[in-house]
Amino acid sequence: MAVLEKGSPRRQSRSIIEWLNDERVRSVLYQAIVAIAVIAVARYLFVNTSENLQARGMSSGFDFLSGTAGFSIAWTVLPYEAGDSYFRVYLVGIVNTLIVSLVAIVFATLLGFIMGIMRLSKNWLISKIAAWYVEILRNTPLLLQILFWFLAVFSLLPPPRGSFGLLDMFFLNNRGFYMPAPVPGAGFDYTMIAILLAIAATYAVAVWAKKRQMATGQQFHTFWVGLGILFGLPILVFLATGSPLSFDFAALKGFNFQGGVSVPPAFCALLLALMIYHSAFMAEAVRAGILSVSHGQTEAAYSLGLRPGMTLRLVIIPQAMRAVVPPMISNWMNVVKNSSLAIAIGYPDLVAVYMQTSLNQSGHAIEIVAMVMLFYMSVSLTISMALNYYNKLVQLKER
């Protein structure tokens, strides 16, 4: 009896330990603990928030979106007036962010390729210059560079009367950068249609040429024919319809420039800083990508009798792209994210007009922060989906 009484709890406790040592049980237990903890924290935050909102007499919900935003925005791509709704401000901010990011991405990629190739140059001096370009730009903060361009360069430009001009078409002064605005006349639509048609035709020619080369081995001068179609067709149509395009030139009238398209100094500073800063990172991506193709590939191509140009085009670049594109795309993502630093120099991007001005005016912190985060997250998800698709496309086909 005594033995049994002593033994039974021990056996029972051991069985609990055994039960706890079961991996599946533990897994469920850990997950339950984490889930409960997260839910408890979320509930705690929610209760606090609603208490806080009540205490401050603030409402929640997205009703404020249709309310009028009383402020004006310095520079917009979408038409906007001070009486428009907060939702309009959101859209205006998104478009302003995307415009500056897209332009910066295009130029940064070009500059990045140039710098990356310079870095690999056989010329010692050129490669050193590129190396120092990369080191200096990568090791100083982007915000510092933005402020530098804005405060120490673009703000110190001469006023409109003394502005720098190029061909009497482009002007740069402390109010911004001015360029001619294209004004399509009647019948310009035909040229646009011709451009679309030319793109489709070039694509069709390329597909046909590839098919023919696969079938017969005969090559076709796709590049030159395509170039001819791309430029020839729209130009012909443009001339045939009587050149229906004129330009609105910016011109100095009184104290400022009138007409044309203009971008503010903040745009120029942000664009330049984003472009130069990110080109350094992109140069590194290009360099690493090209270096990742082994020298044996070049030698093999030469021994097959390919000329250096063809080796580069048909052997090296396609393989290097596999290593260059993924970091390049994540750099593009970073350009979009870093364009949010616009707020420091007053360029009206999404964060500046929505997360700062609108938030301060309407007080709907939670909704506004969530909407801004939603925008950046959807950009990021789109880009990473594109990246996954590309990776699947170029993945090495192994056994």
Partner: protein
């Protein structure tokens, strides 16, 4: 006759000629690397003239036409006519760039904390010292309390006082350990036991001796620190490079542990944990840091109970830590993925459990692979810390900007920014060079041989 023919048959190579003089030495190097062809020569000439132009302009701007002593920016401009730097303004503001509005008479506290940290971590680089984990862990876990007390000053609570005393005792332990090692003892532990005569008096007494020694040290430290009378310096007065280093230092030291936990969570087989970790990482990686900072200063006060009114600096540091952890998690995940599956299987076959497998087999290898990325992330974090200037913390960048908006030095923008850029460049460049050095030394043995 026969002998001479045999002599003729033997192949006797003539001594090889020296290489053509234009392929060796300076000339050869120049021809190979700078003047390989007409296009190459053109590039070189363009490059040389570019460098000469930049160097000449920098010399003219920064040295030849620069003004080193002036009282206002106007005085500078009168001398330079806008063609030279006004370093006088930078040197006037130097204190601000370094410490912000930290009171002059209290700045020794910041310097002291910096020196203490440097001395604390120095044994890392002593080849003889074995207990590097003690050095690292003690500094990471207790130095922040000591630093917080030094920086903040004022009346410290009991907890903070205890932690400060613990930090001081551990600091002493680290350096006594160094001393013991160089005096020929295997470790401080052995040295203490030997000197106290307990080495051969039973193992069960050892830990009491060691605990006693630590206790004596603690009591002395506690008594010593309770005599301190430090004037309170609120966080609003913190600024300059000091503030930048505080924020990024906390971010950097918290990033690795929290990143490792998040990465392990994301690779876990438990769906709930995996989903939470993935959501956390992806959310904070896909949004810009500035939105996280805004979220911290506008939304965090709403999330917390009404009676808690958190300091802005605390909110910012929390935001930076979250951001750094999310980025670090992806780097750690990349490192874990780079480890051969055979290593996991071998560890499991040896009967190691999950945590032992991770800490003894997987992480040491993964961390070696990750060094360049980790240091790259630290550099990125240090640079990103400048974003706190947007929400109004006077870090080095905002001080630099503010110095050009001040009455006496109105319009001075280029010089402070050049100075700040130089500071960041030196720090970041050294970090990246050091990481390359680490890669070569401890990263060796993995990958190419």
């Amino acid at each position: 006759m026969a002998e001479t023919t045999q002599d003729d048959v033997v192949f006797r190579p003539k001594p090889s000629l020296p290489p053509p003089p234009n392929t060796v030495g300076v000339v050869g190097w120049l021809r190979k690397n700078l003047f390989g062809g007409p296009f190459d020569s053109l590039l070189t000439i363009v490059g040389v003239s570019l460098i000469a132009y930049v160097a000449y302009s920098l010399y003219q701007y920064g040295i030849a036409n620069a003004v080193w002593e002036a009282d206002t920016y106007r005085e500078c401009l009168d001398v330079t006519k806008g063609n030279g730097a006004c370093w006088a303004g930078v040197s006037t503001w130097m204190n601000g760039y370094m410490y912000g509005r930290y009171p002059d008479v209290e700045q020794w506290r910041v310097n002291l904390a910096g020196v203490v940290l440097a001395v604390w971590l120095a044994p890392f680089w002593f080849p003889k010292i074995k207990a590097k984990i003690l050095v690292g862990m003690s500094a990471v876990l207790t130095f922040p309390f000591l630093a917080a007390h030094l920086f903040l000053g004022g009346e410290a609570g009991l907890f903070l006082q205890v932690m400060v005393a613990v930090a001081m005792t551990l600091f002493a332990t680290v350096w006594l350990n160094v001393g013991a090692s160089y005096l020929g003892y295997p470790s401080l532990r052995v040295a203490l036991l030997r000197l106290s005569g307990f080495e051969n008096k039973g193992d069960h007494l050892h830990k009491y001796v060691l605990l006693g020694a630590f206790g004596v040290g603690f009591v002395i430290a506690f008594a010593y620190q309770s005599t301190w009378e430090l004037a309170a310096v609120p966080t609003q007065n913190w600024g300059g490079l000091f503030l930048t280093l505080v924020i990024s230092g906390i971010g950097i030291s918290s990033a690795l542990p929290s990143g490792i936990i998040l990465a392990l969570g994301r690779r876990s087989k438990m769906p709930v944990i995996r989903v939470f970790c993935t959501a956390f990482i992806e959310l904070f990686r896909s949004v810009p840091l500035i939105t996280i900072l805004f979220m911290a200063v506008t939304m965090m006060p709403l999330f917390l109970p009404v009676e808690i009114n958190p300091d802005k600096l605390v909110l910012v540091i929390v935001a930076v830590c979250i951001f750094a952890a999310a980025y670090m998690a992806e780097i750690v995940r990349g490192g874990l993925q780079a480890i051969n599956k055979g290593q996991y299987e071998a560890a499991q076959a040896m009967g190691l459990n999950y945590w032992k497998m991770m800490t003894l087999i997987i992480m040491p290898q993964a961390l070696k692979v990750m060094i360049p990325n980790i240091v790259g992330n630290f550099i990125g974090l240090l640079k990103d810390t400048t974003l706190v200037s947007i929400i109004g913390l006077y870090d080095i960048l905002l001080m630099a900007k503010a110095s050009g908006q001040d009455g006496k030095w109105l319009g001075m923008h280029t010089e402070p920014f050049l100075f700040t850029a130089a500071v960041f460049f030196v720090v970041c460049f050294c970090m990246s060079k050091y990481s390359q050095h680490l890669e070569r030394t401890i990263g060796g043995g993995y990958g190419r041989r």
